[in-house]
């Protein structure tokens, strides 16, 4: 039976009176399919969540990445509660910050030092500041359609941004070495750093894995031109390789940014860096009221241990492969053409014969109304709590979604 969302909508009417947009940022229901999706969650456990109307979902967004072990994971939440009982936001740092930093530098390939913060945007902002400070240069190269947060320099917003906010940002297409070389020539000795995601994961478009030669060549070009190479691993981090996605793709960046899955939903991020940037980092004043919170650090330690113990990257990869094979087979049975791009643990599915996402919106909307939470415009996430039973049930629901697309669009 198709879900209804009356309580979600009623609650939203209240929200809209007291918060701009009602729900803002990437949580806005506008980027799903309003009318076919829930707006507010009531509880979550494992790979499932329940909305305020009592509808249950198998969730393939995993809170847009942070839930890597699953919602309300006992080991994680116990670690949080235990540390919270000993104090949360305190007047001085805790021993946990040292232990976590040591753990991270042992785990992440090329991490000689680490600085903790709260959100991915904290880490990406610190990274570009340090890159500029390191070589006393101003310009930063970013990829078109790349996402690094909503800060003024990051180019996500159209409101309240002045040309000067982005005056020293140079954009190139992701993966385009020729374009990168060209901007180096144009801005000779002015480029402080380049920040790319390890593979291209734009919203509203197919994901793109790097050509085998891309990252080694990027490394070489950056070294030749004294450009700091930064990997924004906030979204993909931990699902490809515990040592970092850069390690997965065979290179060692100068700095890398992590967050999302690092503490299974608790707020912590970090910037890691190579030895050569340590002194520059030591000169910066970077802080936030909650950056040294101990419970999140306790959780991150447990989360890292748990991810290592269960071999998280294999788990989510295999679950993803099963799901994606099932979806591809079903689409084929219905005579539909789908494209699945990106790593199987972080896949993006769209219909191959459209650019306007109308089929995706119908498919994902139908799935949401029957208990499977996909996203029509954004990549999905697998987590360790997904089960084969989840996937079988998901495919049953997807079968109905594909049928609707076939009926409505014919192909």
């Amino acid at each position: 039976m198709s879900y209804s969302f009356k309580k979600s909508h009623d609650l939203f009417a209240r929200a809209a009176r007291v918060m701009p947009q009602g729900i803002y940022g990437h949580f806005t229901p506008v980027i799903t399919v309003p009318g076919s999706y829930p707006y507010f969650v009531a509880k979550a456990k494992g790979s499932h969540f329940w909305d305020v109307d009592g509808n249950e979902y198998i969730d393939y967004m995993c809170a847009y990445g942070p839930m890597i072990l699953g919602y309300a994971n006992d080991k994680i939440d116990d670690a949080y509660r235990k540390q919270a009982g000993l104090g949360s936001c305190c007047s001085i740092a805790t021993k946990l910050s040292v232990e976590l930093a040591e753990r991270v530098t042992r785990t992440i390939d090329g991490a000689d030092w680490v600085m903790f913060a709260k959100n991915g945007a904290d880490a990406t902002s610190m990274a570009i500041m340090l890159a500029r400070g390191y070589k006393k240069r101003t310009k930063i190269v970013l990829a078109e359609e790349g996402y690094h947060g909503t800060q003024a320099w990051a180019g996500t917003n159209s409101v309240g941004i002045t040309p000067s906010d982005r005056a020293d940002i140079v954009m190139v297409p992701w993966g385009d070495l020729k374009a990168f070389r060209e901007v180096i020539t144009i801005h000779k000795d002015q480029i402080a750093g380049v920040m790319f995601t390890p593979y291209h994961h734009p919203v509203f478009a197919e994901q793109r894995l790097p050509d085998p030669s891309f990252w080694p060549e990027m490394r070489r070009i950056c070294d030749e031109n004294d450009i700091v190479l930064i990997i924004d691993d906030v979204r993909a981090g931990w699902r490809l390789d515990l040592k970092g996605s850069a390690h997965y793709f065979g290179i060692r960046p100068d700095m890398a940014c992590f967050s999302k899955g690092m503490a299974n939903g608790y707020a912590i991020s970090m910037l890691v860096g190579a030895e050569k940037l340590r002194i520059t980092a030591s000169k910066g004043y970077m802080t936030g009221s909650f950056w040294m919170n101990a419970p999140e650090m306790a959780v991150a330690l447990v989360c890292l241990n748990e991810m290592e113990r269960i071999n998280i990257t294999n788990v989510v990869k295999e679950l993803g492969e099963t799901l994606l094979k099932g979806l591809a087979d079903l689409a084929s049975v219905h005579g539909l053409k789908i494209s699945i791009t990106g790593p199987s643990a972080i896949p993006f599915m769209k219909f191959a014969n459209e650019t306007n996402f109308l089929r995706s919106q119908l498919f994902c909307g139908e799935c949401a109304k029957h208990g499977v939470f996909f996203h029509p415009h954004h990549n999905w996430f697998l987590c360790a709590a997904h089960t084969m039973e989840d996937i079988h049930k998901t495919l049953e629901v997807a079968d109905g979604g594909f049928r609707m697309v076939k009926e409505r669009f014919g192909g």
């Binding site: 909508h9 939203f12 009417a13 929200a15 809209a16 701009p20 947009q21 009602g22 729900i23 803002y24 806005t28 229901p29 506008v30 980027i31 309003p34 009318g35 707006y39 159209s158 919203v203 509203f204 478009a205 650019t355 306007n356 996402f357 109308l358 919106q361 415009h377």
Partner: protein, 253 residues
């Protein structure tokens, strides 16, 4: 930032053409239009924006080509001077190259322009007509700024397809970014790639006046947002820029 040349194209190519609909749908406008027959040419510089406003049989037609003889020829040395005429800000003294003795034609145009201002202000016309005229201005202006605004032109090249704006069970317009130069077209698109549908004329008018939280209304299903949301994001930048060229108060002029 406002590009004065783009603004003059908007006045001549997006705002003035609404006189056509107005003269058909609004009895007051039709009555003014019936008081004179003839052709008034607006021209900026030798190669700048231009158009003819033709009065005939109580109706108005706006012809962008501006060819052949005209009864009255208003020549504006600069775009700023033409824009001052329409915005009412600054000094605008066109050089009447021809027909300056035909005062009646100018008076009829002036009365009709003032009437249109009142209609768009909401002072005289029903909401339905006002919404229709505003939608028409919106589509035409979006096409003009997509083609000609130096900041937006590169952005327009990133999108491909048709964006439709409509009132539920009412008037519709669309902007075609499919090929070549973007075009503002009155009426529905055959298969829009991006759709914004407003539940009522009133809601659309409030959105056009920047008085509505659009994303919240979309979640409340009073505005339907469908299709290529990436195109929608870019279209939203264009909509914001329409508001810069024609601020809500200016739209009503």
């Amino acid at each position: 930032m406002i590009d004065q040349k783009v603004l003059s194209k908007i006045y001549l190519g997006a705002v003035l053409p609404t006189m056509e609909t107005l003269s058909i749908e609004d009895p007051g406008a039709s009555s003014y239009a019936g008081q004179w027959s003839g052709r008034i040419r607006f021209a900026v510089g030798l190669r700048g924006p231009r158009c003819d406003v033709v009065f005939k049989d109580s109706m108005v037609k706006v012809e962008p080509e501006a060819r052949g003889p005209s009864d009255i020829y208003l020549f504006f040395p600069t775009t700023t001077m033409l824009n001052a005429l329409f915005s009412g800000k600054g000094i605008s003294i066109p050089i009447p190259l021809k027909g300056f003795t035909r005062l009646k034609g100018l008076m009829v145009f002036s009365r009709l322009a003032k009437h249109m201002e009142k209609v768009l202000d909401g002072a005289t016309a029903p909401e339905k007509l006002r919404a229709r005229l505003t939608l028409d201005i919106l589509a035409r202006t979006m096409a003009i700024i997509s083609r000609d605004d130096p900041e937006l032109r590169p952005l327009a090249k990133k999108i491909h397809g048709k964006a439709e704006f409509r009132i539920k069970d009412g008037h519709a317009v669309h902007v075609d970014f499919t090929r070549g130069e973007p075009k503002g077209i009155i009426g529905t698109a055959q298969s829009p790639d991006f759709l914004l549908e407003f539940a009522t004329d009133d809601l659309f008018l409030k959105v056009s006046e920047d008085k509505v939280d659009v994303l919240a209304q979309a979640c409340l299903l009073n505005i339907i947002v469908k299709g290529d949301l990436h195109m929608g994001q870019i279209v939203n930048v264009f909509l914001d820029k329409v508001g810069v060229y024609l601020p809500p108060k200016e739209v009503a002029k």
